[in-house]
C-alpha cells in the first residue's frame, strides 16, 4: 500500500553509481565473456571459438572437463559438511550465551573475534598451527600417535580446512541465532515452565520455530561463502596434496594466471558464477516460498 508519489528526479542520483559499477564490474565481466568465446594466442590476436571452451568444460573426459567436474564435487561436498557442522553448533552456542548482565558484552566480543581476522591471516594461523614440527596442533596430534600430515595426507588436509572454516564462521551463525532468540518474549518460557515442558520440548516447540527465519539467512550466507571459498585453503594447503583440496576457485586461479589459459578460465569462471547464482536463487525461493505457505 506504499504508493508514494513518483519522482523521476531521483534517477539522476543513481548515475555516479552506475558509472562506477560499469567500470569496476560490468566492463571487466564483459571482457571475461569475450575471452570465453574467443581463442587468443597472445599479442591480442583473437579467433572466434564460439562455444568451444564450454564444450570442453562440460566433457568430463577432457583434461579441463575432468578437473572442473572434480572441483565442483569437492565444493559441494565441502559446503554440505561445513553447513552440517556450523548450523547445529551455532544454535547450540547461541543457546548458551547469557541474556543479560555484563557477561553478555564480554561473551559476544569473544565470539565475534574469529570473524574479524583477515582471511589470509586465518589461513596462515592454521597453516602454522597444523605443521608437524612447530605447530601446536600438528605436533600434539602426532605426539598422541594420531597420524596427521596436512601436506601429504588428503584426509588430514580436508579435516584441517573444515575445522578451520567451522572455527572461523560458527560465530556468525551463533550471533544470528542469538538475535533470533532474544526476540522471543519471556512469557513463552514462563508458559512452558508452567506447562511442565522439559528443555528439549522448549527448544523444539518454542525456540526452533522462532529461529527458522534467522536460520534461512544463516544457511544462505554460509552456503554462498563456503561455495566461493579461496583464501584460506590457498594459504593452508595450496590445493594439495595433489588435487585433494582443489576447489573451483583455486583451480580457476591456477588456470587463468598460472597457465594463462584465458579461454578455459573465462568459460570456467562464468559457469562457476552461474552455478552459484542458480543454487542460491533456488534455495532462497524454496525457503521463502515454504515460509509463505506456512504462514497462509
Amino acid at each position: 500500500m506504499n504508493d508514494k508519489p513518483i519522482h523521476n528526479r531521483a534517477w539522476w542520483f543513481v548515475l555516479p553509481v552506475l558509472v562506477f559499477v560499469l567500470f569496476s564490474s560490468l566492463i571487466p565481466m564483459m571482457t571475461v565473456v569475450n575471452y570465453s568465446v574467443q581463442d587468443s594466442m597472445g599479442q591480442n590476436n583473437f579467433f572466434w571459438n564460439g562455444a568451444g571452451w564450454f564444450q570442453g568444460l562440460f566433457d568430463p573426459t577432457t583434461d579441463i572437463g575432468g578437473r572442473f567436474a572434480g572441483a565442483l564435487v569437492r565444493n559441494l561436498f565441502f559446503s554440505l559438511v561445513v553447513l552440517a557442522l556450523e548450523i547445529p553448533l551455532g544454535i547450540a552456542v547461541a543457546l548458551c550465551i547469557p541474556r543479560q548482565g555484563w557477561q553478555v558484552g564480554a561473551v559476544l566480543v569473544a565470539i565475534a573475534l574469529p570473524m574479524l581476522i583477515p582471511w589470509n591471516v586465518v589461513g596462515t594461523i592454521w597453516q602454522i598451527f597444523a605443521r608437524q614440527d612447530i605447530g601446536l596442533l600438528g605436533a600434539a596430534l602426532n605426539g598422541l600417535g594420531i597420524p596427521y600430515n596436512d601436506t601429504q595426507d588428503p584426509l588430514s588436509a580436508w579435516s584441517t580446512i573444515v575445522v578451520m572454516d567451522v572455527w572461523h564462521w560458527t560465530s556468525m551463525v551463533a550471533l544470528l541465532c542469538y538475535a533470533g532468540l532474544k526476540a522471543i518474549p519471556d512469557a513463552f518460557y514462563q508458559a512452558a515452565r508452567i506447562d511442565g515442558a522439559r528443555r528439549w520440548a522448549i527448544f523444539a516447540n518454542i525456540e526452533f520455530p522462532k529461529l527458522k527465519k534467522v536460520l534461512v539467512i544463516a544457511v544462505l550466507l554460509r552456503f554462498m561463502e563456503s561455495f566461493m571459498i579461496y583464501t584460506e585453503p590457498m594459504v593452508v594447503t595450496g590445493g594439495g596434496p595433489g588435487e585433494a583440496t582443489s576447489f573451483l576457485s583455486l583451480d580457476l586461479v591456477k588456470i587463468a594466471l598460472g597457465q594463462v589459459d584465458l579461454g578455459n578460465a573465462a568459460a570456467m569462471s562464468l559457469v562457476y558464477n552461474l552455478i552459484t547464482l542458480t543454487l542460491c536463487w533456488v534455495f532462497f525461493t524454496f525457503t521463502t516460498h515454504a515460509d509463505q505457505k506456512g504462514e497462509a
Partner: protein
C-alpha cells in the same frame, strides 16, 4: 478553511479498501471518524495526509486540488496511537523538531515550544527524554509536536487508545480546548461511540471503507440513516430482530406475533430489521404497552453504576441496561421489555424506514 473529499477511493490488490468517500471537514469543530477496527480509518487518514495516493477521487483544500501534492509539501500533522516520539531527543527538542526542519528562527521556536508545553502541562518535563515519561506524558509530547507545527490539518488516529481510561478521560477533555485556537481542521479517529459523543462536533461513521452517515454527532446517534451507521454507533452492540409485518401484526422468526407498535405501525407490509440500543430495553419489572420477550440471563457485566445484562431470548442474545449494580444469576429466567417507541426500523437494504419520535437535546 475546509477539506473536501470528493468520491475518494482506494483499491489495494484488487480489493476496495476505501469506497467512494465524499466528506467535508470544516475547521473550528471537532470532526470525528467513528468506525470499528479495520473499517479503514487509518487508511482514510493516510490518504488525507498524502502518505498514500487514492486510486480514484480527489482531495480539495479550500477548493484547490491537492490530490497529487506529496506529503512533504502539505500542511498536515498526525498523532498516532503509539506515542511516536524521538527516543534520543529531549521533550523540548521533540516538540521543536518540526520547527527546526522548517528552519524557523530560534526566538520563535522557543516561544512556540513554551506555549505548546504550557497548553499540555509539560513545562516541567522539557529536558527529560520520552522514555523517562509516563504513557500519558509521552502522548502529550506527541500532541505538542503536532500542535506546534500549526498545520492546516491535524489528524489524530486513536491517540488515546493506549492510555489508562482515567488518563483518557482527562486528555479527552483537554483536546478540543488545546486545538481550539490553532485554527486547524481537526479529525479524530476512534472506535468508541462514547468517545465520539463526548467529543461532540460532527461525526462520520465508517464501515467497511464506506461512510454510512455524517452530521452533528448527537443527530447521527439518534437518527441513523442506515443500519451500518446505527451499528457503528452502538456500544454495546445494537440489539437486532428480524420481523415480518402484515397489517397490524408483526411476526417474528419463531412464529410469535406481536402488535405493530411504534414506528412499525406506519410502515407498508414487508420484512424489516428492527434495531434497538441497550438503554431502550430493560429487564424485569412490569411495564404496560411494551413488547416483552421471555429469556434466560447468560451473563451480567457491571460498569460503575450500570449493569449490562445479556439475555438469551431464543431469537438472539440481547444486551440490556439496568441502572445500578445488579447481579443476575446466569441461567435465571428474565423478561425483556422493549420500548416500541424507541426502536429503529430498517428495510432489507439497511436503509432507515422508521425512527423513534425525535428526542429533545439540550
Amino acid at each position: 478553511m475546509s477539506l473536501a473529499l470528493d468520491h475518494l477511493g482506494l483499491t489495494v490488490d484488487g480489493i476496495p479498501v476505501i469506497r467512494d468517500v465524499s466528506l467535508t471537514l470544516e475547521r473550528g469543530t471537532m470532526n470525528v471518524l467513528l468506525g470499528p477496527t479495520l473499517a479503514g480509518k487509518t487508511t482514510l487518514m493516510r490518504l488525507m495526509a498524502g502518505l498514500d495516493r487514492p486510486t480514484s477521487g480527489r482531495l480539495l483544500l479550500d477548493g484547490k486540488d491537492i490530490t497529487g501534492v506529496p506529503v512533504r509539501r502539505r500542511s498536515v500533522a498526525m498523532v498516532y496511537q503509539q506515542f511516536v516520539n524521538y527516543p534520543t531527543l529531549s521533550v523540548y527538542e521533540n516538540i521543536a523538531s518540526p520547527l527546526r526542519v522548517a528552519k524557523i528562527a530560534k526566538g520563535e521556536v522557543e516561544a512556540r515550544v513554551q506555549q505548546a508545553a504550557k497548553l499540555l502541562r509539560l513545562e516541567k518535563m522539557l529536558d527529560r527524554t520520552p522514555l523517562q515519561l509516563s504513557g500519558g506524558q509521552q502522548q502529550r509530547t506527541a500532541i505538542a509536536r503536532a500542535l506546534v507545527k500549526r498545520a492546516d490539518l491535524v489528524l489524530l488516529d486513536e491517540p488515546l487508545a493506549n492510555l489508562d481510561y482515567k488518563l483518557r478521560e482527562e486528555l479527552r477533555e483537554e483536546l478540543p480546548r488545546i486545538f481550539a485556537e490553532s485554527g486547524a481542521i481537526l479529525l479524530y479517529a476512534t472506535t468508541e461511540p462514547t468517545e465520539a459523543l463526548l467529543l461532540g462536533g460532527n461525526t462520520a461513521t465508517l464501515w467497511q471503507g464506506r461512510v454510512s452517515q455524517t452530521g452533528p454527532t448527537a443527530a447521527v446517534y439518534r437518527r441513523p440513516h442506515n443500519i451500518d451507521a446505527a451499528r457503528v454507533f452502538s456500544d454495546p452492540p445494537l440489539n437486532e430482530l428480524i420481523v415480518d409485518k402484515r397489517g397490524a401484526t408483526v411476526t417474528l422468526a419463531d412464529g410469535r406475533s406481536i402488535p405493530a407498535a411504534g414506528p412499525l405501525g406506519d410502515l407498508p407490509d414487508g420484512s424489516y430489521r428492527v434495531g434497538f440500543r441497550v438503554d431502550d430495553v430493560t429487564v424485569g419489572g412490569e411495564r404496560p404497552g411494551v413488547l416483552s420477550f421471555p429469556g434466560r440471563v447468560s451473563v451480567t457485566e457491571i460498569s460503575g453504576s450500570e449493569s449490562f445484562v445479556h439475555v438469551d431470548v431464543g431469537l438472539a442474545t440481547w444486551v440490556c441496561l439496568v441502572r445500578g449494580v445488579h447481579e443476575w444469576e446466569p441461567g435465571a429466567a428474565a423478561e425483556v421489555h422493549v420500548d416500541p417507541g424507541r426502536i429503529f426500523v430498517f428495510d432489507p437494504d439497511g436503509r432507515i424506514a422508521g425512527l423513534p419520535a425525535a428526542m429533545e437535546t439540550v
